[in-house]
């Protein structure tokens, strides 16, 4: 499939700072593309430029091979789901969803059949005459998505639409949104600061930092093979160490922990290790494993997310280790010693 959206050398300068700095990317038709970044990284500005609410300083937005320069938001083949949803409070569900179609001056029967189909799809059949102020958070969410999707946009832009929901509903909507996108096949461009949202839903994720893209990759690659230290630190939980000295195949952290790593590039300064990459009581038959001892300080119990806070023996480095909640590790207690291993490929150095 071809690219539906291409962003070329896009920049946006405000008086004294650059919100978007020379960004390039393309989105495949039917894809779910997420832009992940902390607040203030420029992701909302980028989205608003694609929608046409803000003018780019340099570069170009190309949709369906056509430059969007000078085309106002109401003429662009994109629709946006706003962060606060921006539902029209004085209208009921039906009128909210019908608004865009009425603006297109479609015939009433056509509008009605489109609305019915769309409300059916988002599971709001029977809510047509409810006031939007009487709906729950999740239902309002769906009205906002239906209102945009009924316009049949080439690209649907979503600006952190799940941000206002409580945790449980957000988890539910995440799955629902991904299924909906698969079903209708519209291209989604989704911006969020929540890495879990981005990783679960997306085909491709771009990590944005200080107006620039650090890495564009599949969620799995982003997690497994971060290309920059920012991505390694930002996506997922991680242990970060500053390095004191490095040799060709070993390194020493500032806290005095020595690790083996064949084929190391000696210019590196930082080391990242994910808590779940650490193997508790590793099998001696495993290859390319660095083994060491740790002392358990505390057990941070959090259900499936439980971690051990430990200190690496012979150094002052603290290390978080994931602890699966199964019978094998039930005997682990605070203050005891533990043998831990790590595969060389899981030592991410930058």
């Amino acid at each position: 499939m071809g690219n539906i959206l291409e962003i070329k050398n896009l920049s946006k300068h405000f008086d004294d700072f650059t919100a978007v700095n020379n960004v390039n990317f393309s989105v495949e038709e039917g894809g779910f593309f997420s832009i992940l970044g902390s607040s203030g990284c420029g992701k909302t500005t980028l989205l608003r430029i694609i929608a046409g609410f803000q003018q780019e300083s340099e570069g170009d937005v190309i949709i369906h091979g056509q430059s969007m320069k000078g085309i106002p938001p109401e003429k662009r083949p994109v629709n946006i789901v706003f962060q606060n949803l921006a539902l029209f409070p004085m209208m009921n569900v039906r009128d909210n969803v019908a608004f865009g179609l009425k603006m297109q001056k479609l015939k009433k029967p056509v509008i009605n059949s489109k609305i019915n189909e769309m409300l059916e799809r988002v599971g709001l059949h029977g809510y047509e005459n409810k006031k939007v102020t009487d709906l729950s958070g999740g239902q309002r969410q769906r009205v906002a998505i239906a209102r945009s999707l009924v316009m049949n946009p080439s690209i649907l832009l979503l600006d952190e639409p799940l941000g206002a929901l409580d945790r449980k509903l957000r988890e539910h909507m995440k799955v629902e949104l991904k299924l909906l996108q698969k079903e209708i096949g519209t291209t989604f461009v989704y911006i969020t600061h929540d890495q879990s949202e981005a990783l679960v839903m997306s085909d491709k994720v771009a990590v944005m930092h200080d107006g620039q893209f650090e890495q564009i990759d599949t969620p799995r690659n982003l997690y497994k093979n971060p290309k920059t230290s920012f991505v390694a630190g930002f996506v997922g939980d991680t242990n970060r160490f500053e390095l004191q000295s490095t040799a060709d195949d070993s390194m020493v952290t500032k806290g005095g922990w020595t690790l083996q790593r064949p084929g190391l590039n000696s210019a590196v300064e930082e080391l990242y290790i994910r808590p779940e990459a650490l193997i508790i009581n590793p099998d001696n038959n495993l290859h390319d494993i660095d083994q060491f001892d740790v002392t358990i300080k505390t057990i941070l119990f959090d259900g499936s997310n439980t971690k051990l806070s430990t200190v690496v023996s012979g150094s002052s480095e603290e290390l978080l280790i994931s602890m699966p909640q199964n019978a094998q590790f039930d005997g682990i207690e605070e203050g005891s010693q533990l043998k831990v291993g790590i595969h060389h490929n899981d030592l991410k150095c930058f």
Partner: protein, 293 residues
């Protein structure tokens, strides 16, 4: 222990409650209920041949039998509605500018400018308009010195000058409620409408006006009430043909000393204005509870 505390608290609450409600009740009873009851009773009284006051509908019959009275009545109502509409047309762009276009700091300063005429009082502003609009007033003098006109245009003591005076004193009461509803409107509503393909006109008619309807309604009620019950502007700025119904009431009380007929006219005005507001609320589909909040 806990229980007695609660009882104590609730009795405390009662004392505070009555302390707070009593002044309001005194005000309502002595300033509003009793005078109105007195007025209502006296509107149904006329002096008979013996000089005694007797019950009669004569005061009200007098109103309907004299053409000048109910013509003034209808004219007052029609002009009040017209002034309310004009106030909306002028006030809405101002309110929109203050709420959505300019910066907060600018808006506060401009608001202050709008408030100044209110501080000097209606009488002073009315005299101000007389200075501006008179035959030898500022505007005529200016137009003549530029050479646009050769003779002074008659503006003062006409319906035109009266409407200007009424607009000037009431407009602010339209600006403020409309501005406050517009301030509560999220800008993303406008962007969302734009995103869904609405033109500027569509956004104005289908989003901004419906959203600010509660503010418009409450502004319209205040302006209408102020205008229909105003005395100074029609009296001082209006001409011979711009008789206002309040002037009829005034004449009854202070010129012909027919207090009973004056009371009847006062009640007719009250019923007229309440009736028009009720009708307007029905027609616009607004509810008084919603407008008040």
């Amino acid at each position: 222990m806990n229980n007695t505390n609660e009882v104590k608290n609730s009795s405390n609450f009662n004392v505070t409650f009555y302390l707070l409600i009593v002044p309001v009740l005194i005000w309502l009873i002595f300033m509003i209920v009793i005078p109105h009851a007195e007025m209502l009773i006296s509107s149904f009284l006329v002096e008979d041949d013996m000089g005694d006051m007797v019950f009669s509908f004569a005061n009200y019959i007098e109103f309907f039998s004299q053409k000048i009275y109910w013509l003034t009545f209808v004219k007052t109502a029609a002009y009040s509605i017209g002034v309310t509409l004009l106030a909306f047309i002028i006030a809405f762009p101002i309110a929109f500018y203050l709420a959505k276009v300019t910066t907060k700091k600018n808006a506060a300063f401009l608001m202050l400018l709008l408030l100044i005429p209110l501080w000097v009082g209606e009488l002073v502003t009315v005299y101000g308009w007389m200075v501006l609009l008179g035959d030898h007033g500022v505007i005529n003098h200016l137009l003549m010195s530029i050479g646009i006109i050769n003779e002074p245009v008659n503006m003062l003591y006409t319906n035109f000058s009266m409407v200007i005076g009424l607009l000037y004193m009431s407009m602010l009461f339209m600006v403020i409620p409309v501005m406050s509803t517009l301030q509560s409107m999220d800008d993303s509503l406008i962007e969302a409408a734009c995103d869904l393909g609405a033109s500027k006109w569509d956004i104005f008619i289908k989003i901004i006006i419906p959203y600010s309807m509660p503010g418009i309604t409450s502004g319209a009620i205040i302006v209408f009430m102020l205008v229909i019950g105003d005395y100074l502007a029609p009296n001082l700025l209006g001409g011979k043909n711009s008789l206002w119904f309040t002037e009829q009431i005034y004449n009854n009380f202070l010129q012909t000393f027919n207090w009973n007929e004056g009371a009847a006219f006062g009640f007719l005005l009250l019923m007229l204005s309440s009736g028009i507001i009720w009708l307007a609320l029905k027609l616009s589909g607004q509810k008084l509870e919603k407008v008040g909040s």
